[in-house]
Amino acid sequence: MKKILLIALAAIMVLALSACGGKDAGSAATPPPADSGSNAAAQEPAAEPESGDPVTVGFIYIGAVNDGGYTQTQHNGTVALQEALAGKIKTVWLEGIDDTNTQAATDAAKQLIDQGATIVIGTSFGFGDALFALAESGDYDDITFLHFSGSNINDKNFGNYFGAMEEPRYLSGIIAGLQTKTNKLGYVAAYPYTEVKIGINAFALGAQSVNPDVVVNVVYTNSWYDPAGEKQAAEALLSQGCDVITQHADTAGPQLAAADAGAFTVGYNLDNSGLEGLEDAFLTAPIWHHDVYLKPTIQAILDGTWTPESYYGTLADGYIDLAPLTKNVTEEAKAKVEEVRAQIQSGAFNVFTGPIEYADGTVLAEDGQKLDRGQIWSIDKVVKGVNAPE
């Protein structure tokens, strides 16, 4: 009796686990738009001579596709890609892949390749080394690898892509600088990495451009994902008098803390203006449009015209953007943002234009110097007017 019970329990556990695990492997193999697309292709074979079986594009995600933040933003791009190239491609993806574990990333890539993927896209920094090793191994020369947020590249089958997030961050800083009354801005950040510091500096420079007295207080949470911790970090900043809170972390925790305290908030990744409770607090958010890169790139790979590149999307491309400004943004701030946005998009203005001094007094940019991408990505400190633990 005991044994039967034990076996039954074990079976239930296995079933429950496989039910959860089963959700990990997603696929948009035959969504309605893809069907109609392939029908169209079948009717017009001459128009698309290359279209035989759809090409499989595999994505590796660090989180869940509806995580309300980073991965959801990535997946929105995937869905848009599938719609745009319906019939020509089939997208598959793996969720929740540990990006600190090279073996997990390697296995995920191989699994996608086994599923027929000839294009493999790693959407988190930590996947880069694993994918690059596969690309360089010589065994996967017929596979194209694309990596988000890394710097690896080769001359046959590995490219990378990222965006100039400093541009929308700078614009959001302008709004914060104009709308703060205490001249203290709060910034909840994940880790003191270069990418995060670029964002902090851009936000601070934007705020200082319209309000020289403003200071930015930074709190690091040492986690990309901790709803309660991020909220508590924001509360700490609010208690110090910060009245605009922004973030480089993945949850809405800081935004809710700001709303509770009657302060303003600038989100990240997603336009949360519709979120309950944020009606009077949400200003805008720097956001990504990954499809702006994916659509032409995948098309070029299909056409055979793609060569490995290191893409750096800008406001002008539309790869990165500022979510629509809400009613909480003043007319003055709206006008200023539009003015500077036009200058950035035309190339007339660079967010990192000297003179810029680091908080420790050393020089980041000489007077009139405009930092290029390489210089921006070697930023390792915060600028003057930012209080951040090193």
Partner: protein, 308 residues
Amino acid sequence: MIDFLAAAVLAGMPLLFATLGELVTEKSGSLNLGVEGMMLMGAVIGFVTAYNTGFPGVALLGAFAAGAAGALIFAIITVTLRGNQVVTGLTLTIFGSGFARFVGDPLVGQSVPKSVQAFFARVNVPLLGDIPGIGPVFFRQDAFVYIGYILVALVTIYLYKTRPGLNMRAIGENTASADASGIAVDFHKYAHIIFGGGLCGLGGAYLALVTVPIWQADVVTGRGWIAVALVIFASWNPVKALLGSYLFGALSILGFRLQSMGFHVSQYLVDMFPYAATILIVIFSTQKNRKEDQPPTNLSVPYFREER
């Protein structure tokens, strides 16, 4: 400062419920390491019931039932089937995290209904709330905080002043003797494991319903493990568990506060404090060797009547 202490009490709330739950479980002789999993189960079911019904009471019941259900799995495996408690508890953590992701999947990004949020809004206790210093910290908080006070009192009375409490402590100290004296060992173990799991579920629900009232996957982020450490820190005493929860809550936000005030402390260092404090307490209590500070003697020992 008062603002900081009030925030520390709130940060300690999920810890308090989970710690009390684990404390009751351990007092009856079972080491259930699935606190994190049960908190996640309580969080997601608390959220789902709140979202679908809009009744705070139903949400609390749902969260309690979910944590209790997780604990029931643990009880069946460890008490009836005499499986290894450590392995089962760890499995329960993984199970709970998968369960929460699976059940919560369609609701990610949804908010807790206004009616429930209003119920858990801060309430000023008359008279007590006006005491300078103490009032704002302890008596201008949300309903959960007050439930917590009552719970600590009830658990303390139950453990030390009632017959069933004595029975369950006897089981934790020496299961064979308790069995010999006619105490229904399996019944008591089941009851306390399940009740403890329910409290863990409430701790998780606090994070999902009050702290950040939006459903997001993995809201607990390691607090279940801090609760396990807290039980040791509190040397299995409910009143010390209350104080310990506030202390650990304060430690968990101390780093943020210091950073925001311009003190450049490493958050990594601050994150270690709860565990370092627990290690110190274990060393001290082992050195002093006072009976009441020691774990229940038969903690995590499976009981086979036939092998007595």
